[in-house]
């Protein structure tokens, strides 16, 4: 068993237990910060190992693949775990000032850490049923976080979030069962080879579409995204930020993993569906955002719109497009979580997230204005911020693939993103406050101010770093895309030399009998 692979899961779980025991005192929240920092360090170590040695795999419990549960990290998994560490730490610090004592007593920090564990587990597992289990861990923690506090809007949004996510989970579960029935394996690396031998390609495509729908609900793509704008603006700001950054991206990660490793037998069919989905997701998301008048609701719809870009990269399925998708996911998590954190500060000092009820932030809190502009312009794709490079690579990839219409959609949606960002800017920052108040950052107690602004500033600095020095990140994304498009290294790391032989010796499946 490899500790570097297991520690990003063990650390948050251990922290969750400790944070739950100390939930009544200030120790709980500091344990959460320490745990998140430890997770970041562990993820850095994992990243170093994967960067140096290629795909790393370990068999939990000592059962050889493909029978045991495998943990495996390629560059995509590793970078997702690192990003989880970064946003986890930022939000844990932010939560010091954002989450009140009552929610802490109800177990906020424990749930938060379980959520991180579930997300890391989903990124690191190499077994598709195990992926289902990590999805459930993540879901149950997110249910708790979403309705913690029990305000009326939270319950209302929570019902929609819970029910629609449960439907997708059940679809995912049935698809896993049927896939096992067809191939006799659950190990994703083993599935890569096993699906080539399935003698009914039509059935395989049906299963691929079942996975697409199940993960599509999680990733909030068109037309399955309705739970997201119904619920993401209701919980505490820290919760919104971590959800916005990580949860939908787990769905995107699962789509990328499954549609590069397993379901590549009929790319012309499955990935064309994905391309249409990508285009429609971008358009509906950005139009929904244009119709909203609330800070967080605009941002929620923008998550949907941005998911479209990532799916676009997967759908084009060229090396450059996958590079774009990987780069986009990394950039988006940082930027989107940060925007929600800024929304939280705006609410704290100006009193609301309703754009009609706030204003004047530019004059009285210029620092917050700057910290909003960086992620907002990055999201819209202004050079030289990180979003520009992400969009540039994707648009270039679509032009190279001669999908001109999707390139046009991507560019127009970028333009409309600027429209909603300027709407927030105009209403919250430029117009005077409707009640004549002058919201200032100095109204906040000094400790709260530090806890709220340091994470925002750090994430904004990270956005600038990716924007000004994109080269190492692009090189990274290129290596990661090469791994995704040629899964030989992944399969080799998981199954080892004797992997194929072990699969051959598996227990014989009885053939289905006719009705008796």
């Amino acid at each position: 068993m490899s500790w570097t692979l297991a520690s990003p899961i063990i650390i948050p779980f251990a922290t969750a237990v400790l944070a739950f025991l100390f939930r009544r005192g200030p120790e709980g929240r500091w344990l959460s910060v320490i745990g998140a920092a430890a997770l970041l360090i562990a993820s850095g170590l994992l990243m170093a190992e994967v960067w140096a040695e290629g795909v790393v795999a370990a068999q939990m419990g000592g059962w050889a693949a493909p029978f045991g549960i495998t943990l495996v990290a390629d560059l995509l998994s590793a970078v997702m775990v690192v990003i989880t560490g970064i946003t986890g730490l930022a939000v844990a610090v932010y939560a010091l000032a954002d989450v009140d004592a009552r929610k802490e007593e109800l177990g906020f920090h424990a749930l938060f850490q379980v959520l991180l564990a579930g997300v890391c587990g989903a990124f690191l597992t190499g077994d598709i049923f195990n992926l289902y289990v990590w999805f459930e861990v993540m879901l149950i923690a997110s249910f708790g976080l979403l309705i913690l506090g029990g305000r009326r809007e939270q319950l209302d949004g929570g019902v929609k979030y819970v029910t629609l996510n449960l439907v997708s989970t059940i679809l995912f579960l049935s698809a896993v069962g049927l896939l096992y029935g067809m191939t006799g394996t659950l190990n994703m690396a083993d599935l890569h080879g096993a699906v080539q031998e399935v003698d009914n390609p039509g059935l395989l495509v049906t299963l691929a579409v079942m996975f697409m729908v199940a993960f599509g609900v999680k990733a909030a793509v068109f037309p399955l995204f309705f739970w997201l704008p119904a619920s993401y603006h209701t919980p505490a700001f820290s919760v919104s930020a971590i959800f916005a950054g990580l949860l939908t991206k787990v769905g995107v990660y699962a789509l990328v993993r499954v549609f590069t490793l397993i379901f590549t037998t009929d790319v012309a069919y499955t990935h064309t569906i994905l391309l249409w989905v990508a285009g429609l997701t971008m358009i509906t998301g950005v139009l929904g955002a244009a119709a909203m008048n609330d800070f967080r609701r605009i941002l929620s719809f923008h998550i949907v719109s941005q998911i479209g870009y990532m799916i676009l990269g997967l759908a084009l399925f060229t090396p450059l497009a996958i590079v774009g998708a990987v780069f986009y996911i990394v950039h988006h998590i940082i930027v989107k979580a940060n925007l929600f954190l800024v929304a939280g500060v705006a609410k704290r000092i100006a009193g609301s997230t309703d754009l009609a009820a706030i204003g004047g932030l530019y004059r009285t809190a210029p620092l917050l204005g700057l910290l909003f502009l960086i992620p907002a312009f990055s999201l819209a794709g202004f050079p030289p911020l990180s979003g520009f490079w992400a969009k540039y690579v994707l648009v270039k990839a679509s032009l190279d693939a001669q999908s001109y219409w999707i390139a046009a959609v991507a560019l127009v949606v970028g333009l409309l993103t600027i429209y909603s960002m300027t709407k927030i800017w105009g209403a919250a920052f430029w117009t005077p406050h409707p009640e004549g108040r002058s919201p200032r950052l100095t109204d906040l107690p000094a400790r709260d101010r530090a806890a709220l602004l340091v994470p925002i500033a750090s994430l904004a600095a990270l956005t600038c770093v990716i924007g000004f020095y994109p080269e190492p990140f692009v090189v990274f994304a290129e290596r990661s895309a090469a791994q995704l498009l040629d899964p030989a290294a992944y399969v080799g790391a998981v199954l080892g030399e004797a992997g194929g032989a072990a699969a051959e010796a598996g227990p014989g499946l009885a053939e289905p009998e006719g009705g008796q």
Partner: protein, 121 residues
């Protein structure tokens, strides 16, 4: 045997879709519970069904003598039942609490988080 289970799953899915299309959230949850059981039966059948043939390996051999059902999907179903039980316990509590707080289970009236208004929703 598989045919029988397949028909049963079909009937259960049809019934649960009927329930899930209802406006009442409680009926939706009941539909969800039913469809999750249909999913469990699907996985169960995916491991093949061989009645009256226990998956025993005779001494000295390293594979069962006759073709037997695969035991792994049965383990998966057990896991899925346990996880499902937890999730539905949560979902039912949530719906009950929502009913207490909002005074309605009609999904058309649950518009607090997304009020009908000038933002066109």
């Amino acid at each position: 045997m598989e045919l029988l289970v397949a028909v049963m799953v079909g009937v259960m899915v049809a019934a649960s879709v009927h329930l899930m299309l209802a406006r009442n959230v409680l009926r939706f949850i009941f539909g969800l519970i039913l469809i999750s059981n249909a999913a469990n039966l699907t996985i169960f059948a995916a491991g093949r069904l061989t009645p009256e043939r226990p998956p025993l390996i005779p001494e000295g051999a390293d594979a069962p003598a006759a073709q037997v059902a695969n035991a792994l999907p049965q383990a998966l179903v057990l896991t899925a039942i346990v996880i499902g039980f937890g999730l539905f316990a949560f979902a039912l509590t949530l719906v009950y609490r929502t009913y207490q707080t909002l005074g309605t289970l009609n999904s058309d009236e649950m518009r607090l988080a997304e009020p009908r208004g000038e933002d066109g929703s």
